[in-house]
Symmetry: C2
Subunit: 330 residues, 2 copies
């Protein structure tokens, strides 16, 4: 059990009960996504593979679970002031939509240079957009200003107990459907998804094995595991744009350190090929970040692991620019 840092608005514990409570809290708001399989994928992986389809989740990614749990956990007075974040990607959209669904105001801080499409998506979910400079420091500064002016709660993309517990609910559902999984593979950006998975999976079955998946160009978690402490990388680079974190979180790190058995790294070519395979054979639109987990499962190194008959993997999202695909058109 990990006690969260105390902030001005949360003091929750982060354990299996928190994931179970999150599942109750978000039921009816969040989609129970299907688990899909493919004979071709099984053959290529050398074992049975169960894909949890969070690409079908509201807003197109698992982030909607954590966002809904975080917004739903706020006390009413704080909720009335609203929520704030500075992600313009999947978390920003998820938070905007979750806040809209629960009738809570939402502000998303975005670099002035962010694309029109991203701004429109956020605005379309009824949130306000406040512009900032391009760097993380610029964005954090504007978040502080917004909070100082109007109050409310900052909901970060991963390093937050309610967010982590929310992400863990996807794992609970997967295990309810396939209780005898031997192992699970999840991609790592800031670590919110995999730490939620660890807490949920180990609470369900302490023997289940958890593996992380990272692009070689965005391998902060793998380096941290090797070093035994959180490592910061300078410029994470990958087509898996959902996983571009400089380092994993303060809260997610100890969970990953203690509960993730091994973190595998895959190349851009492996990611694109895995993504394309899932599109072609399973007819699922997944984003490159979701291809990362599949690429690990298809890698020789992972295939060689003994004792794993059934492996689960999360197809974490399906938000991809259809006019910028990582393969050539003829």
């Amino acid at each position: 059990m990990i006690r969260s840092v105390t902030t001005k608005f949360i003091m929750n514990t982060l354990d299996f009960a928190a994931v179970q409570a999150a599942a109750k809290r978000i039921a009816g708001h969040v989609r129970r996504t299907p688990v899909q399989t493919s004979q071709t994928l099984d053959r290529l992986a050398g074992r049975e593979v169960y894909c949890k389809c969070e690409n079908f989740q509201t807003t197109g990614s698992f982030k909607y679970r954590g966002a809904t749990n975080a917004v739903g956990s706020l006390d009413p007075a704080l909720a009335a002031r609203g929520v704030v974040t500075h992600s313009s990607g999947n978390h920003g959209q998820a938070l905007a939509r979750a806040a809209q669904a629960l009738g809570v105001p939402c502000v998303v801080v975005m670099p002035a240079a962010a694309s029109r499409i991203k701004k429109d998506a956020i605005l379309g979910y009824g949130a306000s957009v406040v512009e900032s400079g391009p760097s993380l420091t610029d964005r954090e500064e504007v978040v502080k200003q917004v909070l100082a002016e109007r109050g409310g709660a900052f909901v970060p993309p991963f390093d937050h107990p309610d967010v982590i517990a929310g992400q863990g609910t996807a794992m609970l559902e997967l295990l309810e459907e396939v209780p005898d999984l031997d192992a699970v593979v999840a991609p790592i950006g800031g670590g919110g998804l995999i730490s939620g998975f660890c807490i949920a999976a180990k609470g369900f079955n302490p023997k289940i094995r958890i593996f992380g998946a990272e692009p070689t160009g965005a391998n902060a978690a793998a380096l941290s595991k090797q070093a035994g402490e959180r490592v910061q990388i300078s410029t994470p680079t990958s087509i898996a744009d959902g996983l571009l974190a400089n380092r994993i979180g303060e809260l997610t790190w100890p969970v990953i350190r203690d509960s993730v058995e091994q973190i595998f790294q895959v190349s851009e070519e492996q990611i694109a090929a895995a993504m394309r395979l899932i599109w072609e054979r399973m007819k699922l639109v997944i984003e490159p970040s979701a291809g990362v987990g599949i690429a690990v499962i298809l890698s020789e190194e992972f295939r060689a692991l003994p004792g794993i008959k059934k492996v689960g993997v999360v197809l974490c999202g399906g938000n991809v620019a259809l006019d910028k695909l990582p393969w050539k058109q003829n």
Copy 2:
């Protein structure tokens, strides 16, 4: 009820009982595909839309239903000699796979110039490939030769009672899940899918309304409805390559004539936009043929139809060349 033409291997009737019998025959062999929905699609369509996801069907299209029912209906002596067809598209793959699953030999006649990928897919399902000249006459000639040499049953892509009854099982499943549909939209190539749908839907609820969907460049069914008799067109052309039939079938025509209320035509631009919308918002890889039904539902003409609160549509397949998409890459 339509009595089928008598052939040397079939003398089945084509009615609701035939569809129910097909459902029993193919259970356990064919996937019960999910029905998926999207708030965005509902909003754009102006009503509730229920998508039957046959893109998830084995071999990536609904054709696997008809093929499995046709192969499963053969008497053992004929089955031992095998099945033959000359489609290298979705039906050819479906028949090869269905024959493999049921332990029946299969020959697919293909033009010598057909792509390596198509040949490999057929061979990968354990069928034999026999080459022919490029025209339909060439292919039919080779099918006759194969049947003369080795016997067996010709299973055409649509104009066959067992094939039609098999396709109707998708409609049965859709209605079991959403019994109060007011209308259904299905794309038309040779008419196998929609005539199976008509028989299944009208058997379930005589008041349900059935609408056809065709590309303007491949509109043999719409022209036939207008003329009151089967019309042949010279060169059907569309990105919806699953719907390129010169004319609809002898068996499917009377069903379409009597049970389809209206056939809507959509442009190539509408098809590509509808396909892209489903990829983007529902995260489903569908082929252009499946976009045709969606494009109709999104058209002003269809939106203006009164009295339809809930409409079902079949996403008929997901076999699309991912390196030849009908939109530009940036």
